[in-house]
């Protein structure tokens, strides 16, 4: 049973990854191209280098959110008929999509990060000394990164939820999607604020505790919105 579920999830995930191949190529290609151009043309660490790499990193972070809005295209392209007739629930369909989008985020940010590090190493090797200073705080860096992954997962869940709600109405579907997206964001951020405000943080390891707390709260809210999206998909969506 588990093997069957895994193989079905794998097939859906593979399909999603194939659909996102152009975006992955854009991020990877842009990161490598920008790094090469900066290395060959500028040749030293300059504000322009930092700015350009930040822009590419922004693209890597932003693209999964944009891609998440492709869920609605399943309706426009009628491929929703295929997806909904498969003997799997919305959890698997949306879950595989979420997993693929998070993979896109991790792939994009890692490739931009690696290119940035290599570039820094080539243009200003003394910057590697800073890495020695960061190394003792590696756990904090990893926690921070996990928080960004959870935040992207949260935004993707909100995007899924709003698109599914938008598909429940036959008129003004786009408008309903946009309103639901921002309303859910506003409400969930309020909830996060309330949850974070109720917790007390004590020394030592204040930074680590803050990040753990953030990670927990974001993941919890994302999970609730994702579960809600799945419920609406399973119980309310029809063609």
């Amino acid at each position: 049973m588990l093997a069957k579920s895994l193989s079905r999830f794998g097939a859906l995930y593979k399909k999603q990854m194939r659909e996102m191949a152009p975006e992955l190529a854009v991020i990877g290609g842009t990161a490598i191209l920008v790094s090469l151009v900066l290395y060959l043309k500028i040749g030293s660490i300059h504000t322009a280098v930092l700015f350009a790499m930040m822009m590419v990193m922004g693209l890597a972070c932003f693209l999964p959110i944009v891609s998440s809005f492709r869920l609605g295209q399943e309706w426009n392209n009628h491929t929703i008929y295929l997806m909904m007739s498969l003997p799997v629930g919305g959890g698997m369909i949306l879950g595989s999509r979420l997993a693929a989008l998070l993979t896109q985020y991790v792939f994009g940010t890692l490739i931009v990060g690696i290119c940035g590090l290599l570039l820094a190493g080539e243009l200003a090797p003394e910057l590697y000394d800073i890495l020695d200073l960061i190394l003792p705080y590696l756990d904090i860096v990893v926690l921070f990164y996990l928080c960004t992954v959870a935040w992207i997962g949260y935004l993707i869940s909100v995007s899924f939820f709003s698109q599914i709600i938008g598909k429940l109405v036959s008129r003004f579907s786009g408008l309903v999607t946009i309103v639901t997206f921002f309303a859910t964001l506003w409400l969930s951020v309020k909830m996060m604020g309330l949850m974070l405000g109720q917790r007390t943080i004590e020394a030592p390891d204040v930074t680590a505790q803050i990040f753990w707390l953030l990670l927990g709260v974001i993941t919890l809210v994302a999970a609730v919105i994702f579960a809600l999206s799945t419920w609406v998909y399973n119980r309310r969506v029809e063609l």
Binding site: A11, E19, H78, T79, Y81, L82, S85, L86, V88, E238
Partner: protein, 231 residues
């Protein structure tokens, strides 16, 4: 057996099915006939689990239609396949989800329909896409086969190929085929039972041969008559 128990379906203010009552016997080829907007597609989508009744219930083998998706092979009227997929990739994808997928049958049909696995779905003609849809639906040994307007917009030769493929692979007594179409003439020789539907209601149903004998008319003529009378 598929059972519709006083099923009504509303899309906003539009009533697609109106207290629809039917028992579709297993192991038969059933024609669901009626004009555009009669409720044929809604009926099939309900069996496939893509729609829910606003009132009443739909049972497939006694179970709620949401739980029986793996028993039903559904061919929608629209192009529902991913255009970037090749025929081979689409088959690989779909076969993962169904234990009744028959690889031998798939390869056999692939040759019979003059298709090949390398064809990209987005780049083939409408007729070929219709054949690919049929290939992927017929490659399963499903208990229920639902064909929604399988001949719509297809040229004569391809229509014949599609009909022949359905006949060729039909497992009499074992499989139930429900064909929804308003092009009755093409499938007349195929169906055992018929349901004529208009405005979401059954206007006439029964054994195709009995109806033909009783009225001394073809199914096309019967449809014209019952639809005229139902106005």
């Amino acid at each position: 057996m598929i059972e519709f128990r006083q099923v009504s379906k509303y899309f906003g203010t539009v009533r697609a099915l109106d207290n629809f009552q039917a028992q579709l016997a297993s192991g038969r080829v059933i024609g669901l006939f009626g004009p555009n907007g009669a409720g044929k597609s809604t009926t099939l989508k309900m069996i496939a689990g893509l729609n829910r009744p606003s009132r009443g219930e739909v049972l497939v083998d006694g179970l709620n239609h949401w739980m029986t998706r793996d028993r039903v092979a559904y061919l929608p009227e629209v192009d529902h396949l991913y255009p970037w997929m090749t025929v081979g990739k689409a088959a690989e994808f779909i076969s993962t989800f169904y234990s009744d997928w028959d690889h031998t049958k798939y390869h056999d049909l692939l040759n019979y329909l003059n298709l090949n696995e390398a064809m990209k779905i987005g780049k083939i003609s409408k007729g070929q896409r219709a054949k690919v849809k049929l290939l992927l639906t017929l490659s399963r040994r499903s208990s229920y086969l639902l064909l929604d307007e399988p001949l719509s917009g297809i040229d004569l030769l391809t229509r014949e190929e599609i009909i022949n493929s359905v006949i060729r692979d039909y497992r009499e007594g074992e499989q139930t085929i429900i064909i929804s179409t308003h092009e009755i003439g093409e499938v007349e020789r195929l169906v055992d039972e018929v349901i004529f539907i208009r405005n979401g209601k059954t206007v006439l149903s029964g054994n195709a041969e009995d109806l033909r004998e009783e009225k001394n008319m073809s199914l096309v003529e019967i449809m014209k008559e019952v639809m005229r009378d139902a106005r």
